[in-house]
């Protein structure tokens, strides 16, 4: 690829230029050699599988017989599949309610911690800890035990005279339980918010104070715009992550998505279709729909971000 320009230049150029073009050729070779692990992985584990999963999504494939082309049937069947529609509803509900709540908690606590006080490091670490273990099987088990009918949470609430009729076994309470699980992991976005808050120059707040601005004005006129790139980053990452919740859903619902399908998250249904029913084509169609939806959401985020995300580069 890079050999030909090097060769053609060799005949006409002077010695330093020759050395330069030789260097360029050596760089290209070195570049691809160093990139080799990623390149191999990218082709074999990402691009290749993506193409074949797109193909499979138009087929009937059970892993044992050869794939049979059925066109768009998987996609049309999906929208008549009540369990699929339910899994979409469950997942969208989780993303729409869980992510903003989690980010609001993260931002509120980050603002609380954004001042020089003793113990700040301790609080930061304590609040971050759940993010590290939140998606583990252990925590799913603990959650299931704590929110079990008549479990510690029910018991604790009954002290205040609240009876919600159980959590794990109550279809209308499983979603709030999962939302609490994700909000509980507010530490990861909080730490990122905190780093962003520290970047905001203090003189902005001082100037605002001198103009008589209160905390609310300061928040909306300084903190929010200055922090908007970080808010954008957290919003995008947390949303994409939320779509992919799996381990906790699998464990808490015994791998079935119950009760009454109330915990049938998208990825759980995809897993069940693909790896329990061996409907690989159907599951591939689900996977591609997820890619498309995440792609569209990412696009919308980036498009709308122009109106509310301010990068410091623009201001200067």
């Amino acid at each position: 690829m890079t050999q030909s320009p090097t060769l053609s230049r060799r005949s006409t150029s002077s010695a330093p230029a020759l050395r330069k073009s030789r260097q360029r050729g050596a760089d290209a070779r070195a570049g691809y050699t160093f990139l080799l692990p990623w390149l191999l992985g990218f082709i074999a584990l990402t691009v290749g599988p993506m193409i074949s999963s797109l193909y499979l999504s138009f087929t009937n494939y059970n892993l044992f017989d050869p794939p049979k082309w059925i066109g768009l049937d998987n996609y049309t069947t999906l929208f008549q599949d009540e369990r699929f529609l339910q899994s979409v509803g469950v997942t969208v509900g989780y993303v729409v309610f869980g992510t903003p709540l989690k980010l609001a908690a993260a931002l509120a606590v980050a603002m609380l911690l954004n001042s020089k006080r003793r113990g700040q490091g301790f609080y930061r670490s304590a609040f971050y800890a759940p993010s590290l273990i939140g998606a583990s099987v252990s925590i799913a088990i603990v959650w299931k035990a704590m929110f079990g009918d008549n479990g510690p949470v029910d018991q604790g609430l009954s002290i205040f005279g609240i009876n919600l009729g159980g959590w794990v076994g109550n279809p209308s309470m499983t979603m709030p339980m999962f939302i609490l699980l994700t909000v509980w992991q507010f530490g990861a976005p909080m730490v990122i918010f905190l780093a962003g808050l520290k970047q905001i120059p203090n003189d902005l707040y001082e100037a605002a104070s001198m103009d008589g601005a209160g905390p609310v004005r300061k928040f909306f006129n300084i903190t929010w715009p200055m922090l908007s790139p970080v808010i954008f980053f957290n919003l995008l990452m947390e949303t994409i992550h939320a779509f992919q919740i799996f381990a906790s859903a699998y464990i808490i619902s015994n791998g079935e998505g119950g009760p009454a399908g109330s915990t049938l998250f998208y990825t759980l249904y995809l897993y069940l279709r693909g790896f329990s029913d061996f409907r690989m084509g159907y599951a591939s169609a689900m996977a591609w729909l997820l890619v498309i939806v995440v792609g569209i959401i990412t696009l919308i985020f980036f498009r709308t971000s122009k109106s509310w995300v301010h990068y410091s580069g623009d201001a200067k």
């Binding site: 070195a30 584990l45 609040f127 273990i133 099987v137 990122i192 381990a247």
Partner: protein, 305 residues
């Protein structure tokens, strides 16, 4: 917040706070500080409660867990649950599950460090045609739901007869499949001064020399972050082992834990919780030892938990 109204005070806030008895705001400041600690400590209690409840319950007899006991204290502390948990499940000892998890996690760390650092060097320090396109593709994989690749990957590994081995779980680590770590290292290397490799080049060093003797030693912080996170993520991974492993002898802890839950259901809560604690133990120890480093890493590199 409300006492921030006067400009003089907020300047004082910004500088190193020192006690000034004559200042009018000293009392208000102390009240504010007390309020801060009350709120922060209350929040800490709520956030840490599930973890503490888990640890406390692992020492309690079954009867004290099942009945919705919210207390963190028991008069009947015992190690019985751990004894049961260590026996393992399906004829495989918990020690075996630990070893399996350890093999997978160490493999993940070694593979990720090797492949991600080499690939990142190419992205950050070598000019070659197509670099920016590949870089863009790598960034795109960060946002790609990996569910789109698991089905074909499974089919391929199944046809190669590699299901129920560790190969499918580890090969991606040696091929820099966690784009996140590549990205992290690229960002890190880009911040190192360009004069470093220019000087080395004049001295006649090639890319291999520059990479091994200049970049790698300087990248220590990024390598440590990567090691910690790839260890913990591998340790907690559930979907990968669930897909690829079907012999209990090869199970890592999360999968063993699921098996344990399936077989005991809620009959032996204590042992189940004790095993959950055991499964989290390395992560908890890692966190306690490296917490500062982990939290710094998140804030500077935007890692997720």
């Amino acid at each position: 917040m409300t006492t921030m109204a006067t400009p003089t005070q907020s300047t004082a806030d910004a500088q190193v706070p020192h006690y000034n008895p004559k200042s009018e705001s000293a009392g208000a400041k102390r009240a504010k500080s007390t309020l801060f600690h009350v709120v922060a400590l209350a929040l800490t209690a709520v956030v840490l409660y599930p973890g503490l409840w888990m640890i406390a319950s692992s020492f309690k007899p079954n009867a004290e867990i099942g009945g919705g006991n919210t207390s963190l204290w028991s008069s009947n502390f015992s190690f019985d649950n751990f004894v049961t948990a260590m026996e393992g499940i399906g004829g495989v000892s918990t020690l075996q599950f630990f070893t399996n998890s350890l093999i997978l996690a160490i493999g993940a760390v070694v593979g990720t460090i090797l492949s991600a650092s080499v690939s990142a060097y190419a992205f950050a320090r070598i000019k070659f045609p197509g670099r920016s396109i590949f870089f863009g593709m790598m960034i795109a994989t960060l946002l790609l739901p990996f569910h789109v690749v698991i089905i074909p990957q499974y089919i391929v590994f199944q046809q190669l007869g590699l299901v129920d081995t560790y190969v499918p779980l580890l090969i991606g680590k040696f091929l820099a499949a966690d784009a996140f770590f590549v990205f992290l290292m690229v960002q890190f290397m880009r911040n190192l001064p360009a004069e470093l490799d220019e000087a080395a080049r004049i001295d006649g060093a090639g890319h291999v020399r520059i990479f091994t003797s200049i970049m790698l030693p300087l990248m220590k912080p990024a390598l440590i972050s990567t090691s910690i996170f790839s260890f913990i993520w591998s340790w907690n991974d559930f979907l990968g082992p669930l897909l690829y492993l079907n012999t209990p002898e090869k199970y890592p802890l999360p999968l063993a834990l699921r098996l344990f839950v399936d077989q005991t259901q809620s009959s032996d809560y204590g042992a189940m919780i004790a095993m959950s604690v055991l499964a989290l133990l390395p992560v908890l120890i890692f966190f306690l030892v490296f917490q500062r480093y982990i939290v710094e890493g998140v804030s500077t590199q935007g890692l997720k938990g």
